[in-house]
């Protein structure tokens, strides 16, 4: 079961990570939040494009440092539960954020530029907290395996790319510490 959980957390993390990358290329998204670059062609301005990606990574950066102390305090199980609950809530934020700016859509280039600024920043903050949570969660996965066991970080490599065969070993070490 612990394997299912770690695997799904990874799938979830990469889902979130690649999602923004695809939005930037999405016609409807470009039209709504972008600026016009040629007749009928829209694009998200550079700074918002990078902000969309960076937000999640900044969150992850903070998460790397937060995960340890939080886990030490409330334990692996409760940290994960807390993270997941917050994640569900932040998805709500990104989901409903777009509804706030539907009316001024067909305005001039300038307005749509401003729109991009305000609306992209909101999904970004959602993205920030989600990145943070994801990283926390994956750190917990790692830490679950790490406590003082030599082979365990192999479990981490496994976790990220090739998880099936190392996981078993990881769990055994967690229990046996040979």
């Amino acid at each position: 079961m612990s394997r299912t959980v770690t695997d799904s957390l990874k799938v979830m993390e990469s889902f979130d990570m690649f999602l923004n990358g695809n939005f930037v290329a999405l016609g409807a998204f470009q039209q709504k939040y972008g600026v016009m670059v040629a007749a009928g062609e829209f694009s998200i301005p550079t700074k918002w494009q990078s902000a969309l990606f960076q937000a999640g990574q900044c969150g992850a950066f903070v998460g790397v440092f937060l995960a340890g102390p939080i886990t030490n305090r409330i334990g692996y199980r409760w940290t994960t539960i807390l993270g997941l609950i917050l994640m569900i809530l932040t998805i709500f934020v990104s989901f409903f954020v777009s509804e706030m700016n539907t009316t001024p859509q067909l305005s001039t280039k300038r307005i749509s530029g401003q729109l991009a600024r305000t609306s992209c920043s909101r999904p970004s903050t959602g993205g920030y907290s989600m990145g943070l949570l994801h990283r926390q969660l994956s750190c917990i996965c790692v830490r679950n395996c790490t406590p003082s066991a030599p082979w365990c970080l192999h479990g981490y490599s496994a976790d990220v790319m090739v998880n099936w065969f190392h996981h078993r070993r990881c769990r055994n070490i967690l229990l046996q510490q040979t």
Binding site: S2, V5, D7, S8, K10, V11, M12, E13, S14, F15, D16, F18, L19, G21, N22, F23, V24, A25, L26, G27, A28, F29, V37, A38, S43, P45, T46, Q49, S50, Q54, Q57, A60, F61, V64, F65, G75, Y76, R77, T80, I81, L84, I85, M87, I88, I91, S94, F95, S98, N144, C152, L153, Y156, S157, V160, M161, V162, N163, L174, L175, Q177
Partner: protein, 332 residues
């Protein structure tokens, strides 16, 4: 592996909604994110707390219950496991407790920490950031949006295949070998990509750029990506492993955040709008990675942790690691 599964799901979801021109084109993929945390929440709720954590908190009975739920069905074993865990925690506490962050930068560990950080950071410099926004790259290379999303789906599936291929590859070849060949190959492809974008643009060069983008991310997912994690896991000393992984990961973000800006600026029509010409930039950074790895990345494959400790203690140069023989009696 799970990583590429996630990207396949995203690619499929955004591909199927990319033709819609209302906000549901992105709201549906966002809503799809809910399918993960809800069932996971239930699973985690039902799963036991880590026995290690419980023992460290002195909650012995609960720890035993956790071990029973996690562990073997055989009776008697569980008490032994508990006793052993308690003993380990005791020994750890006697050894001075958790290692400190500053320990990473002392003596031989400094070199090992730097290698870990370098490997983590270099993941951002070998063209991988093109793969992270593949769909957008394809569009900028002149592919129609619908086909760009389709290519992205193909790209994700190929990455999955590459991850599988990397398994036997890591078994056959050394870490250093894979890293150097992977980087060299990708650097070459990146320069070819730059050339493709520089010559007179036709339909043919557009497709060539897209194909090169796919090849680069395929090779990355088969060599550099997975091998980096093996290197990271093996370079640091056992005692500092958890810490050095954390610091390495932090270094990765420190490198990635400005690089994301650069990657977006290179491709975006409101930025430099360079499309495939960004291959020159990433090709150059990949060459720098290759050179640093050539001089500083030791071969770690097939060594025990003890052997690695000795090799690092002797300050063996990276290129000599493979040739150096450690005798059973060596104990320096």
């Amino acid at each position: 592996m799970s990583w590429s599964i996630g990207s396949i799901i995203v690619a499929a979801a955004t591909y199927s909604y990319n033709k819609r021109n209302d906000e549901w084109a992105w709201r549906v993929p966002i809503a799809l994110q809910w399918i993960f945390p809800v069932p996971l929440l239930v699973l985690v709720w039902l799963s036991p707390e880590s026995p290690w954590w419980l023992i460290r908190r002195g909650r012995k009975e609960e720890a035993l219950r956790s071990i029973k739920r996690l562990g073997s069905k055989r009776e008697g074993n569980n008490e032994e496991t508990l006793a052993m865990m308690e003993r380990t925690v005791e020994i750890e506490a006697q050894a001075g407790g958790a290692p400190k962050l500053t320990d990473l930068f002392k003596g031989n560990d400094l070199r090992r920490t730097l290698i870990t950080c370098f490997i983590y950071m270099s993941q951002n410099f070998a063209g991988n950031l093109i793969a992270n926004q593949a769909t957008f790259f394809f569009e900028q290379a002149g592919i129609s949006p619908d086909f760009a999303f389709k290519l992205n789906l193909i790209n994700s599936c190929l990455q999955f295949v590459a991850n599988i291929i990397s398994l036997p590859l890591t078994g056959w070849f050394g870490r250093r070998t894979i890293y150097l060949y992977g980087t060299a190959f990708n650097a070459t492809m990146l320069f070819i990509l730059g050339v493709c974008a520089t010559v007179k643009q036709t339909n043919g060069t557009n497709y060539a750029q897209a194909c090169l983008g796919i090849i680069i991310s395929f090779v990355y997912a088969g060599t550099l990506g997975p091998i980096s994690y093996s290197i990271i896991a093996e370079t640091s000393s056992v005692r500092l492993r958890a810490l050095s992984t954390g610091v390495g990961r932090a270094a990765y973000y420190v490198a990635e955040i400005p690089m994301i800006y650069l990657a977006s600026k290179l491709l975006n029509p409101t930025g430099w709008n360079l499309a495939g010409k960004c291959g020159y930039v990433w090709g150059s950074t990949a060459v720098i990675c290759w050179l640093s790895a050539y001089f500083f990345l030791p071969e770690l494959k097939g060594r025990s942790y003890r052997e690695l400790d000795i090799l690092f203690n002797r300050k063996t140069p990276a290129r000599q690691f493979k040739k150096t023989i450690i005798d059973v009696k060596d104990n320096d």
